[in-house]
Symmetry: D2
Subunit: 293 residues, 4 copies
């Protein structure tokens, strides 16, 4: 397919490369153009504006946050203004429900199609084309995007024709991860102050009831107290929790664990851990228990 790809961060870079390797014809755009060089060397064209990247059958966006997606979507040189009729905007960033609704409307009014397809997986999974794709939008559009999803992910979960649904699924998944990180942080603080070896404790947990990637990954980081370098920085985690709380408030759902995690992340950033991985909640909780490393 003829497609555009906007947003070449760690995730986007890897996804775009997999699309190229799957044989798609790619036009890429990034705010900092130098990030596009390796892809151009591999055969992609470089677009100067977001709208220039949106001249094919579909344009994929994988940008940092709501603000960045607004910047590439709206305005004169933006996607909505330039995408051809019936072409698809495939929005794969983790964004808020309100913006997803707004883009759904804007593209429909412009005679285009909007699909929300956020992904689960860290950069290593993106590089290995092992992401999980959560997609929602018009059935025909999801069908058209199938080869794109297959090029970057190991499995696609379709959640109906209302795009924002996929964003709720993604945000709530991140919330569940956040609750794992906070709960593990609390359990490890108790274990450490009770004289229990953290690695032996983790071995028990992940061999029995919690034999899941989330526990292995974050339990390992907390047991090791290895919060740098960051895979996913605290302020980004705070952004996702904030979006989840906003979506839940709009839906009339209190999320007390999300509220609690939000407070802990704010505290972590205020204590100076804004450059640390969000698993540094383990350090926040340990300090609250009087543990000084």
């Amino acid at each position: 397919m003829q497609i555009g790809f906007i947003g070449l961060g760690n995730m986007g870079q890897a996804m775009a490369r997999n699309l190229l390797q799957a044989g798609h014809s790619l036009t890429v755009h990034n705010r900092t153009p130098s990030r596009a060089e390796p892809l151009v060397a591999a055969g992609a064209r470089l677009a100067v504006t977001p709208g220039d990247a949106a001249q094919g059958e579909a344009v994929i966006t994988m940008v940092a946050d709501d603000r960045a997606l607004e910047a590439v979507s709206f305005g004169d040189g933006g996607i909505v203004a330039r995408l051809p009729p019936n072409a698809v905007h495939v929005s794969m960033s983790t964004i808020g429900v309100a913006l997803s609704e707004r883009l759904t409307d804007a593209h429909r009014e412009a005679g285009q199609v909007y699909v929300a397809a956020p992904v689960f997986g860290r950069p290593e999974a993106a590089a290995a084309a092992k992401l999980f794709v959560v997609a929602a939008g018009p059935a025909a559009a999801l069908e058209r995007c199938k080869p794109l999803f297959e090029a970057i992910g190991q499995r696609t979960f379709a959640f109906g024709d209302h795009p924002a649904t996929a964003n709720v699924v993604k945000l709530s998944g991140n919330f569940l991860l956040a609750s794992v990180v906070e709960a593990l942080s609390e359990a490890f603080a108790l274990a450490r102050k009770s004289g229990i070896d953290p690695h032996q404790y983790l071995e028990l947990l992940t061999s029995t009831l919690f034999a899941a990637p989330a526990y292995k990954t974050y339990g390992g980081l907390i047991a090791d107290q290895r919060y740098e370098p960051a895979g996913f920085k605290m302020p980004l985690a705070l952004k996702d929790v904030r979006l989840t709380l906003a979506a839940a408030e709009a839906a009339g759902v209190p999320l007390p664990i999300a509220s609690l995690v939000r407070d802990q992340l704010i505290s972590g950033i205020a204590r100076g851990y804004g450059e640390s991985d969000w698993s540094a909640l383990g350090r926040v909780v340990a300090e609250n228990a009087g543990i000084r490393d």
Copy 2:
């Protein structure tokens, strides 16, 4: 080995049977003696008092709570008064840290040995001899108990020579489960009010980051809203959270998620769900979000 077994509830019943089948010579005791009949039919002897069951090399206790364990351990006809020198009291119930410390001292003073060996697993796992055993106590005693643990569980995790450590591990494991139940309850409330099919949502979670027994079991109950019959009733879960909070307070560790779950369980019981499974936190959270089934 010549052993005693005290406490023939759903769990104890199954564990005692597996010990018998492994060839051990068993004397059993239960407050309600009729519960012992199937085991007696299978070859066990019946003891009238807890102390009568504590005449072999080891006596295992698997009772409901701290109070029940105090009742069988202390006093004239109790275990401490009657257990032979150097014999081992293997305490497998989920009890508090303070009582475990107290029993450690009492048995040492009486020239006996105390081992804490609580287990992870529901009654089905007990029946299949698939429990996980978390054991702590003097190394020699753990070695002596090895055949017992092997008869009832699939794996034993040894946590050093201080018995109460095993209780902290068990309680904190239950706390982690409780945090999963609460977090899933919140995520499902958001999913349902956002028009997302709960079973499809669960399928996504358990196929990706949360492919663990805890998520499959409790996610399934919450997605089905199937809170009866109870596998583990709300008041028992409240008891365990209370013991965890007490252990953490003694160790100087705040556990905000445990505090939150405690409040939700109290609310659930106050709303009339005391006979429901503790996964009925899903109902409490849904009601708080204005969902009326």
Copy 3:
């Protein structure tokens, strides 16, 4: 003084009348013009647009929320576009810190002056010219506004030259009120389930350590379970808590009680109490304790 007044709700209506009675020359504006009739009958002029009301030495805004203030402030017929040089925009609404900062900048760039002067007090206090005014802005501007503040309030507290400071003070004051309402709700639920007469309990509290207006007002409403008619509806309280949390997040301050109250308000609205007074937190907390009236 020649002044404009925009926003004639329950509060604004009463404040404008007091300004008229103090001898000021008043031009008023309201989105629904019929609300202006009593004031016009009493001598005020009616302005068709916000900008038309902003032609004097000062214009006061007392509108519902951030969105309403943006609507009257920005755009062609708005205050910023039309206010004469050196004239003052006195913003008395309870708004967010970010909008206050934005208006500070906009007015400075337009050669005008912005003062934030939110008030404490319910409509009865506004009618009696007994409000408390919390003002911040350039010292000279505060001096010029003094007669206006004196016409509507019993006392003015000046908080320096940075306008947004006054908004933080107002929001944090509302947060403290919210914490009183939640804490009283919890205490009354315990009292009621313990067989204690709520009115006798309230008499004790307000005769001793809690002899303050906040406790008398909200304690009385909760003891009476008199949540309708609303003096301040739940969604408005939720808006203020949301603004407080946003201000605190920007400042790097976790506010766990505010997070908790936010969840309770969301729950109250989800349960169908959106038209009730925010003291209906008392009902939410009582229901959580299984109390059915």
Copy 4:
């Protein structure tokens, strides 16, 4: 009246002196007898055992906690064993509901009377005979105790004939105080990080909606960051919150603010502030916001 007084800490010392000055005949007992010297010099007799102090018409206990009250009440030389028939045990300590119920039963079985009469007020109020007394018990007994209450307090609030009711009232009052301390701590952290002068902020609060002793006292300590010397140490506050939570759990009432304060107090003690006043919650909250003094 002929009365006994047990427990001569800061509070008890002052209360006993006021009883002496009101003309009552006093026999005093304290675990550390030297604390009794000033009272003996002023005319009191010294009793060697608690039971020896319980030989008059009434015996008042004002001890540190449940454990201390159990120690003086039960056993051979204790109050229950030695108090004459129809004499009254007036229990003025802040204790748990369960112990109050237990003492009610024990005294009734022994043909004696039990009255719970905890007090509000700090040592200065005790010295000035300005305490508030919260009393519950049989009406005739309350009538008999009236002169005692009048000698030590400025006002008595009677809460019916069930003694434990008075304990719930006292505990819930302390809980409300705790919620004030936590809420003020949060508000001051926000104010400080927003560049607001804490004392000016406090002046505003206590001149307007929060013109109550609780806000003046604790707001002053937090604004001054003056947490030592302690008027009421963190571990004692934690004990009271624990008793409140236990009473509420027994009554089926979740108290989320109390749970939150419990976590903060545990954290404060774990951080090393166990000798500080409980208003050092202000320091805990400030640290969580990244404020380093």
